[in-house]
């Protein structure tokens, strides 16, 4: 459905995209995951024909974006990061304008009504976009992308700036649309991609660093489990007891958190559940567990693992990552 080959985008001397290639199958929901400035939006802008690549090709359902731009563009519905709205128009006028602009060949009034219902903006359809909240504007942007039932939907961070209820609604909408459309969605939230996508493409500094099914990626990420423990007692003593537990691969001291209580990050080997052993060992040594929680894989971890390999000293590398990630 979508074929991207050796995409390069250069701004002056800076490489925004460095030889990106991937294909998306019919009906697949693909997630772009990456920090800000990784090249997600640039890739999407090139696929939709908003900007041109320095080299490389993009083919949408057999139409090359440079050779047959109108053919390719007519197959795509695009929701950019900032919805491209004319805020001085009413919702219904704006959608009518976009309908004409996209040269959609469907009964106009019915089609727009149908889409308004789908994204739940029927009750605000006669209001001026300027006066709508961020959530509603995002939905109007969504409606605009859906006009003409394009076979491909490109959604750039579709849930940014929405409240939790709206996020769930939009995710449900994406999932339901995924049955009929081929979707590329970008996000910097791992949970979002996990919730909506079949396959994940991790992009960092203009390169693809991982391309896998969401489930596989989730497994590989959770290969090493981490727990955060807060224990009352003697720090060295607790540390020694934790280290002696079978299955624990590493323990990091996080220092004093409240009077007489210390925090530790415990890393365990994959495939072994050591929670019971930890609990028993601490109790046997006469210390008291005040907190015991699983540390989830954050995007930071994903990137450190994918781009810099596993390392014990994670905290030290985090600031460097953030600096490199911002364009």
């Amino acid at each position: 459905m979508i074929e991207v080959k050796n995409l390069v985008k250069r701004y002056g001397n800076q490489n925004a995209l460095n030889d990106i290639s991937f294909t998306v199958k019919d009906g697949e929901v693909l997630g772009f995951l990456g920090p800000n400035g990784a090249g997600k939006s640039t890739t999407m802008n090139i696929i939709t024909g908003y900007i041109s690549s320095t080299s490389g090709t993009v083919t949408i359902d057999g139409c090359e974006i440079l050779e047959d731009p109108n053919g390719a563009k007519s197959k795509i519905g695009y929701l950019p990061e900032i919805p491209p709205l004319y805020i001085d128009m009413s919702v219904i006028d704006y959608l009518g304008f976009m309908f004409d602009l996209k040269k959609v060949k469907l009964p106009k009034k019915e089609h727009i009504e149908q889409i308004c219902e789908l994204v739940k903006i029927t009750d605000v359809s006669h209001r001026i976009i300027k006066n709508l909240s961020k959530g509603y504007r995002q939905r109007v942007g969504f409606a605009q992308a859906l006009l003409g039932n394009p076979s491909v939907l490109i959604l750039d961070e579709p849930t940014v700036g929405l409240d939790p209820k709206q996020i769930i609604e939009i995710r449900n909408l994406i999932r339901s649309l995924g049955k009929k459309h081929t979707i590329i969605l970008s996000s910097h939230l791992l949970t979002e991609v996990q919730a909506t996508c079949d396959r994940v493409l991790v992009i960092n500094q203009g390169k693809i660093v991982a391309d896998d099914l969401t489930n596989n990626l989730a497994v590989s990420l959770s290969g090493k489990r981490q727990f955060r423990l807060t224990v009352e007692g003697n720090e060295t003593g607790i540390y020694t007891s934790l280290r002696n537990i079978y299955g624990v691969s590493d323990v990091l001291k996080k220092g004093l958190v409240e009077k007489g209580c210390y925090q530790f990050i415990v890393e365990t080997l994959p495939d072994i559940d050591v929670r019971r052993n930890i609990f028993k060992a601490i109790v046997d040594a006469n210390y008291i567990i005040l907190g015991f929680e699983t540390v989830g894989s954050s995007l930071e971890d994903v990137f450190l693992r994918l781009t810099e390999g596993d390392s014990d000293n994670r905290e030290a590398k985090t600031p460097k990552k953030q600096k490199g990630g911002k364009k």
């Binding site: 701004y11 939709t48 024909g49 908003y50 900007i51 041109s52 731009p69 109108n70 053919g71 563009k73 007519s74 795509i76 695009y78 950019p80 900032i82 491209p84 709205l85 004319y86 805020i87 001085d88 128009m89 006028d93 304008f97 976009m98 004409d100 602009l101 996209k102 040269k103 605009q144």
Partner: protein, 234 residues
């Protein structure tokens, strides 16, 4: 193209710009009409059109300032640049929208002609010639203003640059007279909007004047399309 044309015309009248430009235009054309025609009891509209030249130079940048700059700033250019339409029809649609608003302004002269017809038979051919002239002049200035608007994200800069270019155009004749080298001053005279326009106000339709204004419009429409195209490659 029709979709863009409709939207742009609509936006002139949902914002105040369309009304403000038209009001100012009506004010000055009414003032000149009163001053040069009604007061002297003549049906001669030449002076009215003659004097409107400067007014138009200032009004058109206001009309064109937001054509592309606003879209660039708010990223609403993504609507049409990712839609299955050609860049030329985007540019032409925007260009025509400003021309239509300008034409609505010029339509006031039909009213003036009707007023004249109460007293005497208006010289319809001269009036028609004047209207054609001012429309062509407007179209050429609109294309220049649109081109300037495509270069910047700021409406204010687009308007100011447009007025500056307008003033330079206004002074082309005097600039030409300052140049001693005859062939250069001839070229500048040849480019003078004023001389080409004033022929129309006298009721003279010459093909070269029509071609001049149409060429200027064509060149700047083309350049605007190139700017949009180039931005994609930037």
């Amino acid at each position: 193209m029709i979709a863009i044309l409709k939207r742009e015309i609509g936006s002139y009248f949902t914002s105040a710009i369309g009304y403000v430009v038209l009001s100012i235009f009506y004010f000055f054309s009414g003032l000149f009409f009163y001053n040069y025609c009604l007061r002297y009891q003549t049906s001669e509209l030449t002076y009215v059109f003659y004097n409107l030249f400067l007014i138009i130079l200032f009004l058109i940048p206001i009309l064109t300032m937001k054509l592309f700059s606003e879209d660039k700033k708010h990223k609403s250019d993504q609507t049409y640049l990712t839609a299955p339409i050609n860049i030329s029809s985007i540019v032409f649609g925007k260009f025509l929208s400003a021309v239509v608003v300008f034409a609505i302004g010029i339509a006031i002269f039909i009213l003036f002609a009707v007023v004249i017809s109460f007293f005497t038979t208006p010289a319809w051919s001269v009036i028609f010639c004047n209207i054609l002239g001012i429309l062509l002049l407007g179209a050429a200035l609109i294309s220049i203003g649109m081109f300037i608007s495509s270069l910047t994200e700021s409406q204010a800069i687009a308007a100011m640059l447009g007025m500056f270019v307008g003033l330079v155009i206004y002074m082309l004749n005097s600039i030409a007279s300052l140049v001693n080298i005859s062939w250069i001053s001839n070229i500048i005279y040849g480019l003078s909007f004023m001389s080409h326009y004033y022929n129309f106000t006298y009721g003279i339709i010459s093909l070269s004047d029509i071609v001049f204004f149409l060429t200027i419009s064509g060149i700047f429409i083309y350049l605007t399309a190139r700017v949009l195209e180039k931005r994609r490659w930037g």
